[in-house]
Amino acid sequence: MPPFADSRPPANAFHQSKPDQSSNLVTIDVGGQLFQTTKQTLTIAGPKSLFSRVSSVSDQYGVPFVDRDPELFSILLSLLRTGHLPSKAKTFDLQDLISEAQFYGIENLLVASQSNPSQFEAFNLENSLILPLSGRDSPSAISTTPYGSIHVAHGSKITSFDWSLQRKSTILTQFTAVDSLLTISPNLAAAGATDFSGLQIIDLDNGFVRETLNWENVTRSSSTVQAIGSSPEFLFTSFESGRRNSNSIMVFDLQDSFRPVTEIGHNEIFGANLDSAIPATKLNWVSSYNLLMASGTHSGPSGVLGNIKFWDLRSGNAVWEVKEKVDCFADVTVSDDLSAIFKVGVNSGEVFFTDLRTIGAENSWVCLGNKRKVVNGKKEGFGCKIENHGNQVFCSKGGDLELWSEVQMGSSRNSEDGLEERVFRKNLMGRAKDMGGNRITHLGFGGNKMFMTRKDQQFVEVWQIVLGSVGFAIFWVSAACPAVPFLPIGRTAGSLLGDMLMVISRVISPNQAYAAIDLSIPGRLFRTVVASVYIERAASLRCSDTWENCSRGNVGMQRACFTQSESCLTFQALYS
């Protein structure tokens, strides 16, 4: 019951004890229930939120009254205080919390606690949710945003799911099918098709076309869109003329209402120069090198040909070019974090990589899979997709998904080119039930989720981590952003605290937790964990800046048990 025992209105209380101007305490009356918090907590909400206005109002007039539900308010106040949702939030739909957070103007905090890209953990993704699409068209393109909302083009429609994946909206476009889709801003997307002239900038709220961007070759014929890419400043579009005799990559300014900036890689095809006839079908921005990777293939009677070009925007020149004649790529991706290009060979179906540092060298592809595979005429890699996210590479083979990750080897054996040999290992993702579905057609990443569409299936699969969400929230806050102001604890401590919270919040019971630990692990270890968590928490509340000293001094025991966050992860995996 609310702490509202006496029925005196708060205004009377205000007259009896005049609020001290210098006082840090703020009292708020929400729907008849009184809450007390500090100004620091309220300022976390940001200057535009209702909370900051509440704290300014309270200085002048006493206890402010907000005519909203007190239970939801208490959850959002917990979010402000701790950065994560309390376990009692589970009695409400996320949708309730979202609309309440929107009212108070702190939806960004809610997003950060629920769908943060730093929560992404490739090894723990599970096929956990299906987003159904109306009608009978299979997805033809998907586009994700960093905080986990997704736009899916299917047929002439674009269906958008918000970051909570609970609100859905669909708009109709002029295309019969959208082949390339890219989200530019929360409510703007660039869409193009290989059978439709021009790139359309579509308002996703109402389906209006804001702008149509075109490219014209010398004959002024119409041009279709082959690929869309973007960097923080620019929008790249690969156009091909309607008669397929010329192609080009246009660069538009994202900040300046899509003004055309420059044109790169303009090819006019005269004669039989096949290589120039290949338009780029994938555009990736490599931010660490400030280069645009454009890749495209052409399938002819003599096999598949392709090229990968790296463009320097300033000079408009291709700085590197890789021509693919033998076992050309079926799909290619470039990873900034790994500083490498990955391809899947169309004939062999194996994954290759080349280090960006050795890109100029002849035949630099290193096969990661079966090196001895005989490349015959078959196209085993046909339709395979390869994408990267963080420092993982995801490669689809039919209905299965391979996860390639680099193993950091302590002793580096240098190969002849002076760089250490890199070791990549693969895992097949998912449980047995997830294997062998229809061919995977699109992969996307956003928030802590991976999105996947399959051939002839009218839904999007969502792969995410299924853990006790509360404990996990604690984990990421500490693991990902050690500089979070309101939770100044280390990565290890955070994960342990998360584990403890999972126990406390009854995601798992302590008995389960005991049971989850192998009996060979002594119970003493568990108690140590408990102790260290409490010590850490107490310490972190008192001294945030001297934390390093505290942890070294007081909880050396804990350090001995869990020195690396990896072991904490194992610990968490045991729980789940």
Binding site: G32, F65, D67, F92, D93, S156
Partner: protein, 465 residues
């Protein structure tokens, strides 16, 4: 955000606040929140009490449901905690506080967009489940179903509201003319009958008679439409002579008769579909007959006041139609956009005509090049229904929607409005949905679409949620 500050009542104006004690749980809210419940509600009445005493008002009801209803008043949306209660409980409690309309608007489906809709419910009456007619009434998502001689009502959240038995053995046309009154007719029994749904009694009936012509006898009802003040019903005699009767809605007495025709050919048989256009006061009637030589029929527009024919077209006509031999299988009027839609019987094409600009051949045949849409051949077994500026077509068992593409943010000129490519065609249903049976009738109401299939018990409700 901006209206948020209005909810933050400042501490200096405590008079705006009101305290309620509902079943021993204390609530505090503002007068304006309570008054948003509407002037007739209990809550608004409470807020008008003198607020001199600071004692909370005691209401002897369940506090949990009240907190949900208070949330509805505050936010206009239903919180997830409402799932602890059935819709019935919520509706009953809301009617106690007099805020049923607010609860309704919070629970209603979002505006129907055919491209995003999916089947949400199948409504199946307990007995005689084969639905012979239904009417989506009142624009709140409720539906009245005629099955056999019974009428079963389902309210706005599609829960069973009641069943009445009529004297008719087989109701083939039904129209909800008042919130509690249905006009029903049968193709095997004479007359148009009005039934009060609240007590199940017949409150009136209308028969077509002609003192000067004894052959006008035992006329049966083929179609019913209504305007705010009148009911229009097409009557058909056993010897096929037919007319349209105008019946006053308040007295349920016959006012006048028009469009009397002999019924000897397909061009003057009884209208099987009647639609009233509230904007122009026109009545649109259509009839289609199919025989060994294909489909034939007419579309006719009458001025509902004078009974004059304003425009008509016959198919197959002798005129210079670009689609000779491809007459329509079904017609419907979009009352929002004032357009007429037809589906061709042979090609299955959908055509549109602007009601404000009708001529000899007003049809614009819509083009759709979506390669993923299987060409369904003929349009023989097709029904068409316009709702919320979209056109829903049932082809055999498949439900598709034609929706208009937004061109630009700027307003387009009316001339270019009806162009061949301005509509996109999409399926509403999945492949497996279409195998349940041939779609017999589609009707929309309250942002829901109801679909009735041949030889399938019950009707399906489709909406956006």
């Amino acid at each position: 955000m901006d209206d948020g500050i209005s909810h933050v009542a400042l501490g200096s104006q405590p008079n705006d606040r009101i305290k309620l004690n509902v079943g021993s749980k204390l609530f505090e809210t503002t007068v304006s929140t309570l008054q948003s419940a509407g002037p007739d509600s209990l809550l608004a009445a409470l807020s008008n009490r003198p607020r001199l005493d600071s004692n909370p008002v005691f209401i002897d009801r369940d506090p949990e449901i009240f907190s949900i209803l208070l949330s509805v008043l505050r936010t206009n949306r239903l919180p997830s905690t409402a799932r602890r209660f059935t819709k019935q409980e919520l509706a009953e409690e809301a009617s106690y506080y007099g805020i049923e309309s607010q609860l309704k608007s919070a629970m209603l489906p979002t505006p129907l967009s055919g491209i995003d809709a999916s089947r949400v419910a199948t409504i199946n009456p307990a007995s005689d489940g084969l639905v012979s007619a239904f009417t989506a009434g009142d624009g709140d998502g409720s539906v009245w179903i005629a099955h056999g001689g019974q009428i079963t009502g389902y309210d706005w959240n599609l829960t069973h509201a009641g069943t009445i038995r009529t004297h008719l053995e087989d109701i083939t046309s039904i129209r909800r003319v008042w919130p509690e009154v249905a006009a029903v007719g049968s193709d095997i029994a004479a007359g148009l009958h009005f039934y009060d749904f609240s007590n199940g009694s017949r409150v009136g009936s209308a028969h077509w008679t002609d003192k000067s012509d004894p052959r006008i006898y035992k006329a049966r009802v083929a179609a019913i439409a209504d305007s705010p003040s009148q009911v229009f019903a097409s009557f058909d005699c056993p010897h096929r002579e037919n007319c349209i009767l105008v019946i006053d809605k308040s007295t349920l007495k016959i006012e006048s008769e028009f469009a009397r025709q002999p019924g000897s050919s397909a061009k003057n048989m009884v209208a099987e579909k009647l639609t009233y256009l509230p904007d122009s006061g026109l009545l649109v009637g259509s009839a289609v007959a199919s025989g060994a030589f294909g489909y034939s029929g007419y579309i006719r527009l009458w001025d509902a006041r004078s009974g004059e024919v304003v425009w008509e077209t016959n198919e197959p006509g002798s005129g210079r139609s670009s689609r000779f031999g491809d007459s329509f299988a079904d017609v419907d009027v979009d009352t929002d956009e004032s357009t007429l839609f037809k589906i061709c019987s042979k090609s299955g094409d959908v055509a549109v005509a602007d009601l404000r600009n009708l001529g000899d051949d007003p049809w614009v045949y819509l083009k759709e090049k979506n390669p993923s849409m299987r060409s369904t051949g003929g349009g023989g077994e097709s029904v068409i229904h316009c709702y919320r500026k979209q056109v829903f077509v049932g082809r055999e068992g498949e439900l598709e929607v034609w929706s208009k593409v937004e061109e630009k943010e700027t307003n387009i000129e009316r001339e270019s409005r009806l162009s061949e490519g301005s509509y996109r065609r999409n399926y509403v249903d999945k492949m497996e949905d279409s195998e349940r049976g041939i779609i017999k009738k589609i009707e929309g109401g309250g942002d829901r679409l109801f679909v009735c299939r041949e030889n399938v018990e019950g009707i399906e409700g489709v909406d956006d949620s």
